[in-house]
Symmetry: C2
DNA sequence: ATCTCTATTTTTAGTTC
DNA sequence: TGAACTAAAAATAGAGA
């Protein structure tokens, strides 16, 4: 019996910019989630720190679809300028906020752990003399990164408001609007072994 | 003829912290490079922006091996404190510098492109009215991120100097020293289509 | 640490539902 | 859109030099 193959399976592709907009969207979606999964796994497996920021935008047609869908879900009572504002806020900033909150919780946890380490050191463990500076360096770096992300988020918000404000004076040009999306992924420092801090 | 398998091939593993130090190192190495490759591919394929920071440290035994190897390659004429300084600088900061230079070149290119866009806009292309703010937002964010990275690099350097200085007064404790490595990967903004900027 | 090698697992391109 | 499917491509665990 001859078995007809149902699909051609995964095809080899060159790593060059995808020109077909449809393919690009699908590939972005798949590889984007794949990348975050890999990053997450690296963190978990090796206890390393990974900060990953992916920024992208959608082409106008799919943007319209998203906005349309959002509008159809929103009560009509909200006035239209507010509606657009909220739509963009939700689409662009909500996820960012969520991720950032998680990230900040990680930082808090690490900060506490850093303090504990500091206290332990005061007890007189000379064995740990090299750990503390690196620990602190690490925290410092992470906090700077965190601050940069906060700043970035602030800018996203204010720029979005600006854009949407301009836009509200110009309804009908929706196709030219570019929603902006940012995903964040952050994992904190961790011990590799009781005597090697990270 | 019975074919004896040479290896068991890839084995399924749970995504939990690897406790065996040796396995951890190898896995980190493999997955670290795999992650950067994936990030690079996502950028190229979809023209998205990705910033990836991976920070990790080595356990003491392999650290000794690295330092030993470095020392055996270095002319004996250099005095030992300088030697250690240089060793750590090379190991920890060189790659960072290289990556950062590439990153900065990308930023420069993008900044120029942003200016060109600005000039074009002044010519009177109303069609592009939404592109510029997002372009600028993007650049601004990227520059902030870049600044954060520069700051981070500065801290790595100064902390390393501090650690190495302390260490040079305390030879014989090499096993407690934790080299610190940071890899950076950054890709710039790009057009998705002539009318959608990123 | 890296590189190699192999046999698997995992990811994903293309398609269909 | 978007989730599910398939089969091929790609990544990688384990072992080695």
């Amino acid at each position: 019996m001859v078995h007809e193959k149902k699909t051609r399976g995964r095809q080899k592709i060159d790593i060059v910019k995808i020109e077909n907009e449809q393919n690009l969207q699908v590939t972005f979606c798949k590889r984007h989630s794949g990348l975050f999964k890999k990053a997450s796994e690296l963190c978990t497996l090796t206890g390393s720190e990974v900060a990953l920021v992916v920024a992208y935008c959608f082409g106008s047609p799919s943007v319209n679809a998203i906005i349309d869908r959002f509008e159809s879900q929103t009560p009509k009572s909200i006035d239209s300028s507010n509606l657009l504002l909220e739509a963009h806020r939700k689409i662009n900033v909500q996820h960012l906020n969520n991720e950032l909150t998680i990230l900040q919780n990680h930082f808090e946890t690490e900060k506490k752990r850093g303090k504990t380490l500091n206290q332990q050191r005061k007890v007189g463990e000379t064995r740990h003399r090299w750990e503390a500076p690196i620990k602190e360096l690490n925290l410092e770096q992470l906090e700077q990164f965190n601050l940069a992300l906060l700043e970035l988020q602030k800018n996203v918000k204010s720029e979005l408001r600006k854009i949407i404000f301009e836009h509200s004076n110009q309804i009908g040009n929706l196709g030219q609007l570019n929603p902006y999306g940012i995903d964040l992924f952050g994992i904190n420092a961790r011990e590799i072994s009781p005597s090697v801090f990270y």
